[in-house]
Amino acid sequence: MNVFEYMNQNRGEVLELTLQHLGMVAVALLLAVLIGIPLGIMLTRRRSLQQWVLGAANVIQTVPSLALFGFLIPVPLLGVGPRTAIVALTLYALLPIIRNTYVGIAQVEPAVIEVARGMGMTGGQILWLVEVPLSLPVILAGIRVATVIAIGTATIAAAIGAGGLGEYIYRGVAGPKNYLLLAGALPAALMAVIADASLGWAEHRLRSR
């Protein structure tokens, strides 16, 4: 059977798995942004913590994804299913977001910060009016990398019963059936390409302001 015939016949299921996939990725990224950006900002204030936080995020990144999913299953409140998948995806997404937030803010021209202080801005005003807007393109680049990683890694979530497009891939591997592999891989790849292009465009817009 041809992959397109298969997808056409199973439109409902393809759509459902795609939405599941997208849902996991979206929730994980939202969490990673909510955790990662404040952490990155904190690192610019307490540079001594940098090696610990970035080190930890780096270590997480080196754990093979299937193993990370596996490690999280016994954790209370997680178990088998999408919650574990979301936590794992969040952990993976953290590193690029923390790192880029830190780097983005650290590269803001010191003279600009000094003049902001000199005109009587408070620490919070300097952060929100100067540092964050000036580092937004770099932060967004981090989110973009994290998004592409998350879309790819989320295919493994099917292994722990979290659904998503990985379902087709696992069934395809077990088959082995190429059209099933492709029914999972094609939409996931397309999703990654679209996310990368649109976030890249947004980044470009911010840079050229």
Partner: protein
């Protein structure tokens, strides 16, 4: 210096010193008074402590010895935010916020001070005209769409926005080409007279010091060498002053 002077003293350094962590002193036992409405020039070579002295005034640095008084109160007794909003600050061209329009750059301090939107707008227009930039043409531009001279004009407008009685300027015209610099110096001189602000102006350019200063404070290696009017400065015998005067070249020293 005459401590019995009737002129009101706005800024006063009393034995003020600043040492970095390693113990190296950037400014040593500095005694200096700035009177209301004057333009005091801090002149000196690179590393003579001019910029450090300026930062002691708006509390970007706290003195490690002695004290600096602004309007009779030690800077360390001021809330740093209040103190800085009381003092306009202009530095070399990098100081504009690149992500904000000219109008927002100029209006930022009034905005921080919670002025009404309309009042901020009106003030921005007034200031842009004052520094010679037509608001309709320039208000919406970004700093990178301006020439160096225009950026510096915006910097001056921004420092004046909330009407601070004191203005600190750190080599504001240093990065400009000679022609533009000369234009801005002339305009600044008129503006300073008209506005009657107390201005402390850092430069390493003697010519600029002589042109703009009511008095010139010469610093060398963190110490105050002399405080003099431009006329006294040209006639002084101090060797460091002579070196600066000599740097003007033969034409100027004859005057």
């Amino acid at each position: 210096m005459n401590p019995q002077s009737d002129d009101e003293i706005v800024i006063e350094c009393r034995e003020a010193g600043f040492a970095v962590n390693g113990g190296r002193e950037l400014v040593r036992s500095l005694n200096l008074e700035v009177r209301r409405g004057e333009t005091l020039i801090l002149l000196g070579r690179s590393g003579s402590g001019k910029t450090t002295t300026l930062k002691l005034i708006n509390r970007l640095l706290d003195p490690t010895s002695g004290e600096v008084l602004v309007e009779g109160r030690a800077t360390t007794a001021w809330d740093p935010i209040r103190l800085r909003r009381h003092i306009g600050y202009v530095i070399q061209e990098v100081g504009l916020f690149p992500h904000m329009t000219v109008a927002r750059n100029v209006g930022i301090v009034p905005e921080l001070e919670d002025w009404e939107e309309k009042r901020v707008q009106a003030r921005v227009q007034e200031l842009l005209r004052m520094v010679g930039l037509e608001p309709d043409e320039f208000a919406g531009r970004r700093p990178r769409e301006l020439s160096g001279g225009q950026r510096q004009r915006v910097g001056v407008a921004r420092a004046l926005a909330a009407d601070p009685p004191i203005l600190l300027m750190d080599e504001p015209f240093g990065a400009l080409d000679p022609v533009t610099r000369s234009e801005l110096q002339q305009e600044f001189r008129q503006l300073a007279t008209r506005l009657a602000r107390t201005i402390v102006f850092v430069t390493h350019d003697v010519r600029e010091a002589l042109l703009l200063g009511t008095r010139i404070a010469l610093l060398a290696e963190g110490r105050l060498v002399a405080v003099q009017t431009p006329q006294e400065f040209l006639r002084a015998n101090d060797p460091e002053v002579r070196r600066f005067v000599a740097s003007l070249g033969p034409l100027q020293t004859e005057g």
